[in-house]
């Protein structure tokens, strides 16, 4: 029987030749959610009835011989940071609990038009701020591989949903690693596109100059398929690029000749988990075996990336989240005395600790007298980091590195140490600062069975190259075929 554990390509074949239907597939996803999501916590909202209705409608159209969109009835889970008309969109915050947007995000429109079945909204760190999904106001997401460990974040729900076979594909957002890191923790493929590749219209903003929407999938082909749907020029997003969207899947099987893989030795120093180190070295060996040249590259300003990121992102966040003031929508305190008190209490009561911390950091960094020393200087450093990558990509095609310093971490292990939590973003945030596409793909497991990801970065708008390089590794290793024991149990 077809289940969402199969690859999207297999499922599409089965749908096409009638071995399964979208309805059965959707029901299978809903069954898995019912069976396992109490333990995993991947979904904040399961849209069961509308999903089944949409699946049935797509099946009818297929039977009638009507042309279907690229996703042709595949269930897709959507991170709860994207506006969905008629479905709650909470950003895992009490602030937006119960808010139902009157409009669809651009990518949600694209999904509907591609005949995806939108199965539900996935858990995340509140307003996408965090690396473990423990900052969700509605409980954490656990990696299906180890229920005592975090799924990563902030798109932990989307990554876990794909890993557990609750949806063959999912959409996340990545501001500093929020797609790639949970993909690594959950053993799936996650891709953060070039800044501007995918419209941000309807993506609830965390840090506007860093946020980007991207796909999760069990394999590289699925990520390529979903990216074809998501990527588009949208005139409603002024930062969205008017670049043609390649047919990413067409290139996948073609290995890259004389691939040059860049390695930054600074990435393999203290703080890197031994199992991760070995897995990444092994992945690099795979490329070497496939005939790639491995080059050392220099990223001299990379060591400032965390500091730079934690000025730029909170600054923008402090501004983006100012609109949650209890006036027009969202939570309003029940008890206040006058307008200013209403603002203070509503925000004080409805935002979680990490969101408040970043709002305060950002407010400080933008304040008169501090702006030049913090925000402006961070922007200068950001340009230097961008230049480092431009320079590096003159001699290599992709850059390989760990995704995170460790495999999935135990729940609760870093919540009281925000600085350590921030430092763990060190491998992923540069891609956001430089606007580069980055991909995380399964590259092995720790001794105790937690998945480990490999990160590949490419120059702007080279998602095709990234996917091709990832596919080369995937064909050799087949890591992506392993499934968490929990998911296999119920199939």
């Amino acid at each position: 029987m077809a289940t969402a554990l199969e690859s999207s390509a297999t499922l599409l074949d089965q749908l096409t030749d009638g071995q399964t239907t979208s309805l059965r597939l959707t029901q299978d996803c809903l069954d898995r959610i019912a069976a396992h999501d109490t333990a995993i916590g991947a979904f904040l909202h399961v849209d069961s009835e509308p999903a089944l209705a949409a699946a049935a409608a797509i099946d009818r159209r297929r039977e009638a011989g009507e042309p279907l969109g690229l996703l042709a009835g595949l269930p897709v889970a959507v991170k709860d940071v994207l506006a969905t008309r008629g479905q709650p969109t909470t950003c895992a915050s009490r602030m937006l609990q119960g808010w139902v947007p009157p409009y669809d995000a651009h990518v949600v429109e694209r999904l509907r038009r591609a005949d995806a079945v939108l199965i539900g909204k996935t858990n995340m760190d509140e307003f996408a701020m965090g690396s473990t999904t423990e900052n969700s106001a509605f409980g954490p997401t656990r990696t299906p591989w180890r229920l005592d460990c975090a799924a990563g974040g902030s798109s932990g729900g989307s990554a876990a949903a794909v890993a557990a076979g609750m949806a063959p594909l999912a959409v996340g957002s990545d501001t500093g690693g929020s797609i790639r890191q949970p993909a690594s923790f959950c053993g799936v493929v996650g891709l953060k596109p070039t800044y501007g590749r995918v419209s941000r219209y309807g993506l609830v903003a965390f840090a506007s100059s860093l946020d980007q929407v991207g796909p999760f999938s069990g394999d590289v082909r699925g990520a390529a398929l979903l990216l074809e749907v998501l990527a588009d020029h949208d005139p409603r997003d002024a930062t969205c690029a008017d670049e043609p969207v390649p047919a990413y899947r067409d290139q996948l099987e073609r290995p890259l000749d004389a691939l040059r893989v860049g390695i930054c030795r600074d990435h393999f120093t203290e703080g890197l988990d031994k199992d991760v180190d070995e897995a990444v070295e092994a992945a690099i060996d795979v490329y070497r075996r496939l005939g790639a040249e491995i080059h050392d590259i220099q990223l001299p300003h990379a060591r400032f990336a965390v500091a730079c990121y934690y000025l730029v992102a909170p600054s923008e966040a402090s501004s983006n989240l100012a609109r949650y003031d209890g006036v027009h929508y969202g939570a309003r305190s029940d008890d206040y005395d006058g307008l200013v008190d209403m603002y203070c209490r509503s925000r004080g009561e409805a935002f979680g600790a990490e969101v408040k911390r970043r709002i305060m950091l950002g407010t400080y960094a933008l304040s008169a007298g501090y702006y030049d020393a913090f925000y402006l200087k961070a922007q200068k450093v950001r340009r230097l980091i961008q230049q480092d990558y431009q320079q590096a990509f003159t001699s290599v095609d992709v850059i390989a590195s760990p995704v995170a310093p460790t495999p999935a971490i135990p729940l609760g292990s870093l919540v009281s140490d925000p600085l350590q939590m921030y430092l763990a973003d060190t491998y992923t945030i540069s891609a956001n600062l430089a606007g580069l596409p980055g991909l995380s793909l399964p590259a092995g497991f720790s001794d105790d069975g937690r998945p480990i990801g490999l990160q590949l970065l490419a120059p702007p708008f080279q998602e095709s190259r990234l996917l091709q390089a990832a596919a080369m590794h995937e064909r050799e290793t087949q890591w992506h075929l392993r499934r968490p024991p929990l998911a296999e149990d119920s199939s």
Binding site: A83, L96, S208, P235, S319, A322, H328
Partner: protein, 505 residues
């Protein structure tokens, strides 16, 4: 001996806000229309500030803004950008206003303001501008006026209306001059077609910064703390608020002797009903707007060719046109101002009449007196006026040719105004002929037609005739008047000549 509080210098700078006449709002596709009757209908996720919505610049708003900047002789920037100005207020749904901070689209510029409003010796003062920038307007809070603690409501129809902010240097020296500056600004913006500047609807608003330089008992010149008066929305309000504030600051100076406990800038409101300014907020809430570049919008490149194209496309500006009416058409400065200050349509009307009747001075007299009086009485705009430029030119041409007396021309004018607009359509020339013949207004120039009338009048007024013959020149006036009453179309010059001839024979 020094005079306490001797009048010295008044220092005023204005920040003028002008709503632009675009079809749609500045960052979304919603209609840009004044519509207080139906709150919140001209809204969308973008101008409601909903989570996830993004702004996209309306290029038309920038175009209108550049036209205004060029007309104000400002320097248009090659690159400009958008910044977020952050503050909390219920009518600001994103809790920041998209504005321009350090790279406004237009730098500098100036506007000349006539110093006095009559006479031909008028001097103009050049009021320099600091900058002009573009931003989005906020919505409107609708407070419960009953003070019974009911909820306030918010209308976001206005949120996202493109708003030009024109910031002057502190070059204005009196309340009256500030008012004239604002009037000239309104005229310019309306001329350019970039705004309707309807003050009742809030499409022209103004904040004023004012302080005084006064001399204290020791003869030392001291500046009073700057006061910003917010949200002035009428010409009279601007003038009255500034006059009030000049008096208040002078009084305060007299009381404290120029020694201020607090010399920080103060914000005051204007209570038009009571005619006073009042303190609005102290410096303890002095806002830090935490400006930073809006990451949702890309920097805007303004091509030099585009600027030139817009510059070339500018209409003749009011100041230049006023001057041309004086220099080329030989109007008095006063008449020229009356015509130009009424707006572009009236000036166009005047020029069409002047050109077609060939006598600008006569055209000016008729337009500034007869036409304006009728427009005022009828509450009409020139575009709705029953007599178009051809009609008035035709009447005036007949005066020039001697076919109509001025008095008869007025009667034709009135008759044309009273014509039923739905009535039979004939050319205005034909209609004027009709009125002249219906009412017997044709000038009676040939003495043959006048003779019997003159004889009859002389016969009825023997005393006046005798007085004239006896050398009392003034006596003829009575006789001319009587002849004129009888012969409607008669030309007074011909009547006088004929009478003199008859009485002298």
């Amino acid at each position: 001996m020094t005079a306490p509080c001797s009048p010295a210098t008044t220092i005023i700078g204005l920040e003028v806000h002008v709503q632009l006449l675009t079809e749609t709002k500045i960052f979304c596709g919603c209609l840009n229309r004044f519509n207080p009757e139906e709150p919140n209908v001209q809204t969308c996720p973008v101008c409601l500030g909903l989570p996830g919505a993004l702004p996209v610049m309306n290029r038309r708003a920038l175009e209108l803004a550049i036209r205004a900047g060029l007309a104000l002789s400002g320097t248009i920037a090659g690159t400009t950008k958008w910044d977020r100005k952050q503050y909390y207020y219920p009518d600001l749904p994103k809790a920041y206003q998209i504005s321009q901070f350090d790279l406004p689209f237009c730098d500098g510029g100036w506007m000349d303001v006539d110093d006095a409003d009559d006479g031909d010796e008028t001097q103009a003062s050049r009021i320099r501008l600091i900058r002009v920038h573009l931003e989005e307007d906020a919505g409107k809070n609708l407070h419960d006026e009953t003070q019974r603690g009911r909820d306030s409501r918010i209308d976001l129809n206005r949120a996202g209306t493109p708003l030009l902010e024109i910031v002057s240097e502190p070059d204005l020296r009196s309340a009256a001059q500030s008012r004239r500056y604002l009037e000239e600004m309104r005229l310019l913006m309306v001329y350019l077609g970039v705004s309707d500047c309807n003050m009742q609807e809030g499409s022209l608003r103004c904040d004023a910064n004012i302080n005084l330089e006064l001399v204290n008992d020791d003869g030392v010149a001291i500046r009073t703390p700057i006061v910003e008066i917010k949200n002035l929305n009428s010409f009279r309000g601007v003038e009255a608020a500034l006059e009030y504030e000049i008096g208040r600051q002078r009084q305060e100076f007299a009381e404290c002797g120029g020694v201020y406990a607090d010399s920080e800038k103060q914000t005051r409101g204007w209570d038009a009903d009571r005619g006073v300014t009042f303190a609005q907020r102290g410096k303890e809430d002095a806002a830090d707007y935490r400006y930073f570049p809006d990451p949702d919008l890309v920097p805007v490149q303004i091509a030099a060719e585009w600027i030139e194209e817009l510059r070339t496309g500018l209409c003749e500006l009011p100041a230049a046109r006023r001057q041309r009416l004086v220099d080329d058409l030989k109007l008095s400065r006063y008449d020229a101002s009356v015509i130009i200050d009424q707006g572009r349509d009236l000036a166009d009307y005047f020029e069409a009449v002047a050109q077609r009747c060939g006598d600008p001075k006569r055209a000016a007299n008729w337009v500034t007196q007869d036409v304006l009086r009728e427009l005022n009485d009828r509450g009409q705009a020139i575009g709705d006026f029953a007599i178009d430029a051809d009609g008035l030119a035709a009447i005036l041409a007949r005066i020039a040719s001697g076919d109509l007396t001025t008095r008869s021309a007025r009667e034709v004018f009135t008759a044309l105004l009273d014509d039923d607009p739905e009535g039979e359509q004939v050319t205005v020339e034909a209609r004027i002929d009709e009125i002249i013949s219906d009412r017997g207004l044709a000038t009676i120039a040939d003495s043959g037609a006048l003779e019997p009338l003159i004889d009859a009048v002389i016969e009825r007024n023997p005393q006046a005739a005798a007085d004239f013959r006896g050398g009392k020149q003034a006596a003829i006036g009575k006789l001319i008047g009587e002849v004129m009453r009888e012969a409607k179309g008669a030309d007074p010059q011909s009547v006088r000549a004929a009478l003199i001839e008859r009485l002298s024979s």
